[in-house]
Symmetry: C2
């Protein structure tokens, strides 16, 4: 048995506080159902981090999606991919024939400028929001000579350029390394253009067993983990080992290695995130991610583009939506429907999300999935 993606859809990713969660979900779900050529589903898994209780049912009811199992899943920035992972497992188990996966987050109406630190976390009580946690990883990389400030900036340059071809992206543009480094400092060494924006958006995917439709995209592997014990004395920066272990499981299930992947959509919430993640996914040795981006290997036109959509930095990062947005992007790429950001000859794509800043563990959760082939 193989689970496949029948269809995908999304809202634009943008600051759109005037739009309700239900409105955003409707746009994404109607596109996905049409794309999937499906008119009803047997179950729904919704990824959301800060969605109000009931946001799933409240958003689905106006679409007539009622009377079936509906669950909201929270797993930090991996919420959307966690919903996808569970939906795929449900298909493989034969529980349902058609499962709808939704990612939804309305950030700007809730937070305005920034996400409030969680005061039940030790880090949160010290005012350490996510930018600070990523900045500490970047500082360690800089101190160890594993990356340069310019290489960090190149991630932003690349992803903002990629997003020029993505009409759904929150931001895009041609920036220079100097412009990235010269933008406002958020958490040293991470400047504004190295941080993902606060975005609102929804994305959706319809999954089911193989049905003999050539444009359906098979899911060859998917793995979900939470982080092991971690502190600043650990061998690697926060998140590296978690993503590495999760990816190993997904590659093993798919029967491939990173060299077999044509492109990646990964969790570049901050530039250092993409550097560390490309290393953890096996595109470079630990400490080799900076040289990798500088080589052009991960740019559109390079051997293995990373974040052709623009990634979280440029497409945007509506938390619970992000993983499903990645699924949608990979499906469009594998079908050759990605327009101005199309990866040539895309046959196998990998998505990766990693989230959370809970004290003492190497990330709340990560999902890595292999699609296509």
């Amino acid at each position: 048995m193989t689970a496949v993606v029948y269809g995908v859809g999304s809202s634009p990713y943008a600051k759109q506080p005037e739009r309700s969660a239900a409105d955003l979900v409707a746009e994404a779900v109607l596109e996905a159902l049409t794309d999937a050529d499906v008119t009803s589903v047997d179950a729904v898994y919704v990824g959301t981090v800060f969605g109000a209780p009931g946001v799933a049912q409240r958003s689905l009811h106006p679409l007539g999606i009622v009377d079936v199992p509906v669950l909201a899943i929270e797993n930090a920035c991996a919420s959307g991919t966690s919903a996808f992972h569970e939906a795929r497992a449900a298909i493989l188990a034969g529980r349902y024939e058609r499962v709808l996966v939704v990612g939804i987050e309305t950030m700007t109406a809730r937070f305005g400028g920034a996400i409030h630190p969680e005061l039940t976390d030790a880090e949160g009580r010290q005012g350490l929001a996510l930018p600070s946690l990523y900045a500490m990883a970047a500082t360690r990389y800089l101190r160890d000579g594993a990356v340069t400030r310019e290489q960090l900036a190149l991630v932003s340059v690349k992803n903002h350029r990629h997003a020029i071809g993505n009409p759904r992206a929150h931001y895009s543009g041609e920036y220079t390394v100097e412009e990235v480094l010269g933008s406002r400092m958020i958490a040293d060494p991470l400047t504004l253009l190295q941080c993902c924006p606060i975005s609102d958006g929804a994305a959706a995917a319809v999954l089911g067993p193989r049905r003999g439709v050539s444009r359906d995209v098979p899911i060859r592997g998917s793995a979900l983990r939470s982080g092991g014990l971690w502190d600043h004395r650990s061998s690697h920066v926060w998140g590296y080992q978690l993503v590495r272990d999760t990816a190993a499981l997904a590659y093993e299930e798919a029967g491939i290695g990173p060299e077999d992947v044509d492109f990646f959509e990964v969790h570049d919430a901050f530039t250092i995130g993409e550097i560390v993640t490309t290393e953890a996914l096996g595109l470079a040795e630990a400490g080799g991610g900076g040289a990798l981006v500088e080589s052009g290997h991960t740019s559109l036109g390079g051997a293995q583009p990373v974040n052709p959509s623009g990634g979280l930095l440029s497409r945007g990062h509506p938390l619970g939506c992000t993983g499903v947005a990645q699924v949608a992007e990979v499906v469009w790429q594998l079908r050759g429907e990605a327009g101005g950001r199309q990866v040539g000859g895309a046959r196998v794509g990998v998505i990766e999300t990693m989230g959370g800043g809970v004290s003492g563990i190497d990330g709340n959760g990560a999902v890595v999935a292999v699609l296509g082939g």
Copy 2:
């Protein structure tokens, strides 16, 4: 393949705002692991409604439960049983050998006196919190002659009496019908003693495949649904059809009918809730739930006790915890470990939760499960 419950545990259910979610979870999980004679688990499903993002990982990390899939699930008052339902499905699919289910809610520190209405709901904007929604159902039953005020009060009398035998219960005591009806009016006709308290608590269960241990409790059936379209013109009050349809699926899977069940733990958030639920579960015809409680059929010592633990009204209702608290109670009963509230000859128990007040649908979600036998 049959999934079984290896062990269960819980905190007390009480107003305990000084205790963190992690502290409550630790008490429940350590008891459940000990009870299950298990030292590690392969995955964790956590039910919570208002838990902060990351509450699952933040609570599990101090216990050394890291490096495995951890998901938080929200499905209104059915969150805990939804986590249980998904965990059981994961066992049946062969995904994991040992799955930990946790329900956690810290209500008093968040809400103080009452849950704030959700302003994205039409009902919430009108100030209609859950007591009001249940009160409208009770008013319809009273108008139709389907129940009397005294019969409503008898549910409270019964469940507070049952809870005298439950040392973990939030409240308990011998009340008269007059005392129940004379307590402060909350939402006419529901008086204070007909409304569940705001409670803090955690509960846990360890699930796995059969392992030949006689005290393990088999899960014979479990069903999860969301509500169909509903409004005040529908044939039945809010929640009836949802619970009825969900129960039909669970009974069918278990190969039993309501007459084969020895006792029930059901969602009596308000007295009218238990009345409607006993009807929906097939213990009485629609409109017969009032006479049923009056007959003593559902009291401890009666033919089919309902809520021997005291139910939500008396044991308490920490939202996401409640479903897992029900699982724990049913396991204790089926093992004959329920002390002063033991149901004689308990062989088959049913749990039911129903939650949510989203406009236009018959409840956000419901779970019915059949244990034992």
